[in-house]
């Protein structure tokens, strides 16, 4: 009582703040009470004290598992893709919490493949798998958490090959109190801190959270067409006629195609028409300069257009150039 009185006398305001703690009084704490009485009997003051009642606070088995990662964007065939979770002891005694991974989550499009070692502690707090992170081994280094303590856990999965853009696969982290789980209120006699009973908390002394991987792929397609323009009335591909080639580049899917470069060889027996290179109808110079296009001469001449990073929303990109038949 002395502590509480002091706190109340000095900083009554802080007592309220202390009350807001989620965990509550630590398991095994002894709570005592003693009353006193004063009186006057035949003009003589007297006083006496009561017996002291004492009880021990039992242990509540409670925990929380929270997903930290937002949806992880992956490509088919990726390896060691991580999901970050936190596990918090919301009970009032130090407790051991075995954890497990579950990839057979209903309602998703594919099952991620657990890596050979699929559960790690995010020991260095990087939020991602790194050399310093300690692998979890069930029954060997199950996390023992003091009340209110938290540990960061990583699930590590591979993504199956051949999956289409947009598909979702889920992976779940399960954790439970080692002392026992069950219906809230069920107790385990003598198994709590300090020999008290352990009582299953509101969530059944088990918790889980589910993370999500989503495929993000980009498909690049090209279509090439040719238009022959003859001299005079002739439109046959005869010497002297010109051919305009048009190449349409399309990007589909949710991902971005990065660093796209289109190169096309000038067909044998033809000559590139200087200044004919265009992107989306806008002329590009033949020289290797500030614009994205160039004509490369030599033994095997070609045109080259650096399209850069493209997404589906950029729409089709049309490259055109003209040659003359020798």
């Amino acid at each position: 009582m002395r502590l509480k009185q002091l706190a109340a006398a000095v900083l009554g305001w802080c007592v309220l703040v202390g009350v807001a703690q989620a965990v509550g009084t630590t398991a095994g704490t002894s709570v005592a009470n003693q009353a006193q009485v004063s009186y006057v009997l035949a003009g003589v003051p007297g006083n006496s004290t009561s017996n002291t009642t004492t009880f021990l606070v039992a242990e509540v088995l409670d925990l929380n598992v929270t997903l930290v990662s937002s949806t992880v964007t992956v490509s088919a065939g990726d390896t060691n893709r991580t999901l970050l979770f936190t596990l918090t002891n919301t009970g009032n005694g130090t407790e051991v919490f075995p954890v497990a991974l579950d990839n057979l989550v209903a309602g998703d499009d594919f099952d991620p493949l657990a890596a050979s070692t699929a559960v790690y502690f995010d020991t260095d707090g990087s939020g991602d798998l790194s050399v310093a992170d300690v692998a979890y081994a069930a029954g060997i280094n199950d996390p023992a958490l003091a009340p209110d303590a938290t540990v960061a856990v990583l699930l590590v999965n591979d993504i199956p090959a051949g999956l289409a853009d947009g598909l979702i696969g889920r992976s779940r982290l399960l954790a439970s109190a080692a002392t026992g789980t069950g219906t809230p209120g069920v107790s385990f006699a003598g198994q709590g801190a300090g020999g008290t009973d352990a009582v299953v908390g509101a969530n059944g002394a088990q918790a889980n959270a589910t993370g999500e991987y989503q495929l993000s792929e980009a498909q690049v397609t090209l279509s090439k067409s040719a238009t022959v323009a003859g001299s005079g009335s002739s439109i046959a591909p005869t010497p002297g006629a010109s051919i305009t080639y048009q190449i349409v580049v399309n990007v589909a899917g949710s991902a971005s195609a990065t660093g796209l470069i289109l190169t096309d060889a000038i067909p044998a027996g033809t000559t590139f028409t200087a200044g004919s290179l265009q992107l989306n109808g806008i002329a590009l110079t033949d020289a290797a300069d500030a614009d994205v296009g160039e004509f490369q001469g030599g033994a095997t001449p070609s045109v080259r257009v650096a399209l850069g990073d493209l997404t589906q929303t950029a729409g089709p990109q049309t490259v055109a150039f003209t040659v003359t038949i020798n």
């Binding site: 509480k4 009350v19 009997l41």
Partner: protein
């Protein structure tokens, strides 16, 4: 000087011893019990609430403390005042302190100043004041309006929640 000191120490010792005897042989026998409510359902499906001694308690549970004061002497005790601190780790439950024939007051300073709930003010760090909440209460006091006659028993009760 030394002789004076010895005399003072002796006097203090005597005083303390006298008090101890007064406690042991007091005229009011004070008892306290800590109980929790247990709801039982009988064969007919009817529920009843019983008070049972605290055996298993977790944060958030409510404890009912009952203090009984019995006059074991053959003269009436006057100015009977029962004091009970709100136990450490417990929070007083608003309006739960009762005692037939008593006036109940509270302290928020560890038991130095008692008053009615509406009179208790807590100073905030910024200098302002606010009305004390039940969670601020540190002590409960029951003042009996009438003398406690020989053989009579007075009851005081309050509820508190385990933090």
């Amino acid at each position: 000087m030394k002789a004076k000191m010895d005399w003072l120490a002796g006097a203090l010792l005597t005083l303390c011893a006298t008090q101890a005897i007064a406690q042991d042989k007091g005229c009011i026998l004070l008892k306290t019990v800590a109980e929790i409510e247990q709801i039982t359902t009988d064969a007919r499906g009817e529920q009843s609430t019983q008070l049972v001694p605290v055996e298993k308690i977790v944060p958030g549970n409510e404890v009912i403390y009952t203090v009984s004061a019995t006059n074991i002497c053959d003269q009436a005790a006057e100015h009977v005042v029962i004091d009970n601190p709100v136990p450490e780790h417990m929070i007083y439950v608003a309006n739960s302190a009762i005692g037939p024939g008593t006036e109940v007051t509270f302290a928020i300073d560890g038991g130095f100043n008692f008053g009615k709930p509406e009179a208790l003010k807590v100073a905030s760090p910024d200098g302002s004041e606010r009305k004390a909440e039940p969670a601020d209460y540190t002590n409960i006091r029951w003042v009996m309006r009438n003398p406690l006659k020989p053989g009579d028993v007075a009851f005081a009760r309050f509820r508190a929640v385990l933090e």
